[in-house]
């Protein structure tokens, strides 16, 4: 990759404080990442609040969009979790909209993708994982341990399979976080690297330009897809917690 010089393709992910704040020795500045998160939350809230203001039985355009999002996640929950999934709708919907808007706002040129930072995605994934595990333990108590024993397995295989099951369960937040983070990081870095080639090649610069255009289209698709995968995996983990196996 373009290296150690002024224009590394990784420079776009740098966090810049906008309003420097310090509590003791801790840096709690309001950064460009925080600003984009605030924009994402305001956009989502205004879409839903303003969209549903009319409460018309035959929805207008904005209300249709808001209802589309609602229905999408409601169907996702009822398909994966079933009837008891209804009460987890707010968390799944919030996660989905937050990740989706985070990815999409990052596609705006010169903007910032807050989901391209591992700490952000890991915080979301860890919160989901902790919530799901606590839910499972509260619902099933000690019986939760049977989750790590695959059904229909003879006892002499248990010492081998149970550690494997536990490790794969503990790797869930990591995989959830790294999947989203790596997709966003790789996409934006690739875009910047090829965009750099456009200027360098002069007349033949239309080739990397065509590739950048195609890649941007792919990146939009990936933005939706990664948000969808994050949401559906959350639903599947909730389902695992509620109905062991």
């Amino acid at each position: 990759m373009a290296e150690a010089g002024a224009h590394s393709p990784l420079a776009q992910f740098k966090i810049e404080p906008i309003v420097p704040l310090h509590i003791g020795h801790t840096d709690v500045s309001f950064t460009n990442s925080s600003a984009v998160m605030v924009i994402a939350v305001l956009a989502a809230s205004s879409l839903l609040i303003v969209g549903m203001r009319q409460k018309a039985l035959v929805p207008g355009r904005l209300q249709s969009v808001a209802e589309m999002f609602y229905e999408f996640i409601a169907n996702l929950l009822s398909d994966t979790v079933g009837h008891e999934g209804k009460k987890y709708f707010p968390i799944v919907f919030s996660i989905f909209i937050f990740v989706l808007l985070g990815n999409l706002i990052g596609m705006v040129p010169y903007s910032f993708t807050f989901t391209s930072h591992i700490i952000v995605t890991f915080a979301l994934a860890l919160a989901i994982f902790t919530g799901v595990t606590v839910l499972a333990i509260f619902k099933h108590g000690i019986h939760f341990a049977t989750f790590f024993v695959p059904p229909g397995v003879p006892i002499f295989l248990w010492p081998l399979l149970i550690p494997i099951e536990i490790i794969s369960y503990l790797s869930r937040p990591i995989s959830l976080a790294v999947r989203l983070f790596a997709n966003m990081l790789a996409g934006h870095t690739l875009l910047q690297v090829f965009a750099g080639f456009v200027g360098l090649l002069g007349v033949a610069g239309f080739l990397p330009l065509a590739f950048v255009i195609a890649l941007s289209g792919l990146e939009f698709l990936i933005a939706f897809l990664q948000a969808y995968v994050f949401a559906i995996l959350t639903c599947l983990y909730i389902n695992d917690a509620l109905h062991l196996h």
Partner: protein, 74 residues
């Protein structure tokens, strides 16, 4: 061998792992095409699971990429 050279070689070796993702994505979409070929009406439901499978397989390729980046820049 100096550290910088070893890092670059390590990163190159780490990226070989994306072969698995290439095979996996091809396999997923081959199943999708076959399923739709046999039963065109199932296209909508199967497509949703195909997209989920694609994202999960692509994640593996990205894990390899992340390790390569950590080796190269970490």
């Amino acid at each position: 061998m100096e550290l910088a050279a070893a890092k670059v070689i390590g990163a190159g070796l780490a990226v070989i792992g994306v072969i698995g993702a290439g095979v996996g994505i091809g396999s997923i979409f081959s199943s999708f095409i076959q399923a739709v070929g046999r039963n065109p009406a199932a296209r909508g439901d199967v497509f949703t699971m195909t997209m989920l499978g694609f994202a999960l397989v692509e994640a593996i390729a990205l894990y390899a990429l992340v390790i390569a980046l950590v080796i190269l820049f970490g």
